[in-house]
Amino acid sequence: MENRGLIKVDLIFETIDSGKVLSKAFRMSNDEIIKEILDSGLRGRGGAGFPTGMKWKFTAAEKDQEKYIVCNADEGEPGTFKDREILDRVAYKVFGGMAIAGKAIGSKKGYVYLRGEYRFLLPQLYTELDKFHKLIKEIGYDFSIEFRMGSGAYICGEESALFESIEGFRGEPRNKPPYPTTCGVFNKPTSINNVETLVTAMMIIEKSAAEYVKLGTQDSRGSKVFSISGDTPTPGIFELELGMTVGEFVAEFGDGDTKAVQVGGASGFCVPRKKFDETIIGFEGVPTGGSMKLFNSSRSMYNVLHNYLDFFTEESCGQCTPCRVGCQQLLLGIEKVKKGEMKSVYLNELVKLADTMKVASKCGLGQSVGNAFKSIVENFREEIIY
């Protein structure tokens, strides 16, 4: 294991000469850009971790004249707030990353889908966007970006729901396949990437893949921005090299009494104290879009689970039955066990329901409710019952 402990990095927020990096990128061929991103091992920072180079390669291979690059700035996962900070501090790198992606896949048009909760950022983002459009014009390249806003629906962070929303419909996820790379927004080939992914891609073009792979591990290359909250003396946004264990993380950010860390938000996993040292944060262990919530021994994990289930029950789009009814039943179920209306063995039935939701739900929301549910129920069973 190439484990070097917890190392702070400063790549994402570092100031760069955007014009220089973009000119360099536009001199490269599509294949060269894609190869560089593939070689870097970069995987999507929105949570799912799909290799970014592959996504660009698939979209580039489509014959369509009209293609799109979409930046996912919906950032709705509880406990994630790093994309806002990135847009606030280095929006020019987000736009730059989109232009580079556009060049790689053959797209002249990008959309940034920004959650409604971040609307207050729009005036400054438009100022930055104007500067970007001027810069691109000076370089003599044809690419433009438009903002589209969300309106308070977590599910619109799911890529196909996000497309529906941009097109002016209810944010209901589509069936897959077809995947966005062949049929995305306006039914055109689309590469959709997280805010941080795009910035990282620009940094890779600036520094080279060879330089980037020096950070991180085999499965989780590079560094990533973490959103840290809960019971910690230092809540906030930190860029860390990938590959550390939860134990090392807690040693740095815990309050001395950490009993659990929820990695990856409400749709992620709960890691209990006894598993801190064996659990790696990254694609080889527990993956995360960056949300890290610490809970100390004063917290009831029943309340934590109840809060998450309440969240999912409200945010489920209701389109498919396993998720719509499943979320409600899990929530009602733990309430009944808590009140003593159902025996504790009923929790085993609920775990089976969560498993069914994983295979039978249409999209990632319903499929991942079981992550938090099972990891909390299995590790903190007494707290759920008594």
Partner: protein, 154 residues
């Protein structure tokens, strides 16, 4: 109720008459008046040449596209886990006492509506609320009263 007047025409001029103009149009109407009246939705449907049911169906999906009357300032209190752990109920209670309304209600003078919402992305500065588009963070019951009194004097 507000007067729809030329509002919808103005929005259509700005955003176009395509299906994908619908969200920006509805968002801008809400930006100005905080909720969508039936009249406004019917008007939008006519301009975009789609059914009013399509407009309502889309609007009702999104929690920020309110179709119920709301006050001039919509207060949304974050209720997700970190805010909830760090004193959300005290914040909510302080606002209820000050405005003399309960969660979900609007003041009689139509100035304030009080709602809860899911994670607004300020967990590191919990508890947090939104008033229309503006976030307020690291609140205490005293601090939130000052914030709201500031709006009362606007």
């Amino acid at each position: 109720m507000y007067n729809t007047g030329n509002l919808v025409k103005e929005m259509v001029e700005r955003h176009g008459r395509n299906r994908d103009s619908l969200m920006p149009i509805l968002q801008d109407i809400v930006g100005r008046h905080n909720y969508l009246t039936d009249e406004a939705m019917v008007e939008v449907a006519k301009e975009l040449d789609i059914s009013a049911a399509e407009v309502y169906g889309t609007a009702s999906f999104y929690s920020f596209l309110d179709t119920e009357p709301r006050g001039r300032y919509v207060i949304r209190v974050c209720k997700t886990i970190t805010c909830s752990m760090k004193g959300k109920n005290d914040i909510l209670g302080a606002i209820e006492d000050l405005l003399k309304i309960k969660l979900g209600e609007t003041t009689l003078d139509n100035q304030f509506s009080l709602l809860e919402t899911n994670c607004i992305g300020w967990c590191h500065k919990a508890p947090a609320i939104l008033i229309n588009d503006m976030p307020y963070t690291e609140l205490t019951p005293e601090k939130v009263l000052d914030v709201i009194k500031g709006y009362m004097n606007k």
